[in-house]
């Protein structure tokens, strides 16, 4: 659960929901990026146990079927982007928990 405090935060945050049609080129690009992103996310899932065991407390970024690990998110993204520049925008990244325990979102 997440509660928000602060002036104006209790006001609705969603301004607008609209449905649009992307151009054919935009659709192709978005579909390709999504497919790559899902492949990277699926790779992370298949290797979840390894990532959890070896990367605790660090930031990981998956691109091109490779795992990039660093102490900061910027560094992890940079490593992946350098190795796979064609996958910028489609990498899967996350911070690996320090310890394995049940989570109630939020923190």
């Amino acid at each position: 659960m997440i509660k928000s405090y602060g002036t104006g935060l209790n006001a609705p945050s969603v301004v607008m929901l609209e449905q649009v049609e992307l151009s054919p080129a935009e659709q192709t690009e978005a579909a390709a990026r999504r497919a790559t992103y899902l492949a990277n996310a699926a790779w992370a899932s298949r290797h979840a146990a390894l990532i959890g065991r070896t990367c605790a407390g660090r930031f990981v970024c998956i691109a091109g079927g490779e795992l990039f690990v660093a102490d900061t998110p910027a560094e992890a993204h940079a490593l992946a982007g350098t190795a796979h520049p064609d996958e910028v925008g489609a990498t899967y990244s996350t911070r690996v928990p320090d310890q394995q325990r049940p989570k109630i979102y939020a923190h």
Binding site: S4, S13, V15, L22, C55, T94, V96
Partner: protein, 145 residues
Amino acid sequence: MRINGFWHVGPDSTVRPIIPATALGSDGLPHDISLLVDTGADRTVLDFDTYVKLGLATKATGEFELEGVGGLSRSVIVPAQLQFTKAEGGTALVNIQLMALTEATSLGMNVLGRDFLSLFSVIVDRQGDTVCLLHGRHRYVIQES
């Protein structure tokens, strides 16, 4: 409208319901991200990793506190647009004021809160391996077998 998600195994080997989306970074380039379907969250919140990935520090408007089980965490408000792929084709755009956590030890996952989820019927079905959001012409039916 139907927006599909999936059950995703996280680095702690726990399975959680996820909706994929596209967010624009401060450089104007699209980045795909995953958001946890969290009906317990008042607001949609981005974790620190995504905050850095999208370069949101340049778009933040003020600092605020978020409260969770672990206590208070600092965050910023960022106006953003999320793009969702519709199962029937086409794209849904949502303009939303996101919260973004600015601390590395917080959350660890982007959270889709009720500020957004209240627009939809939310299906989180582990037994049926289904995660989806329904709006408009797409509806659900509960039947007794």
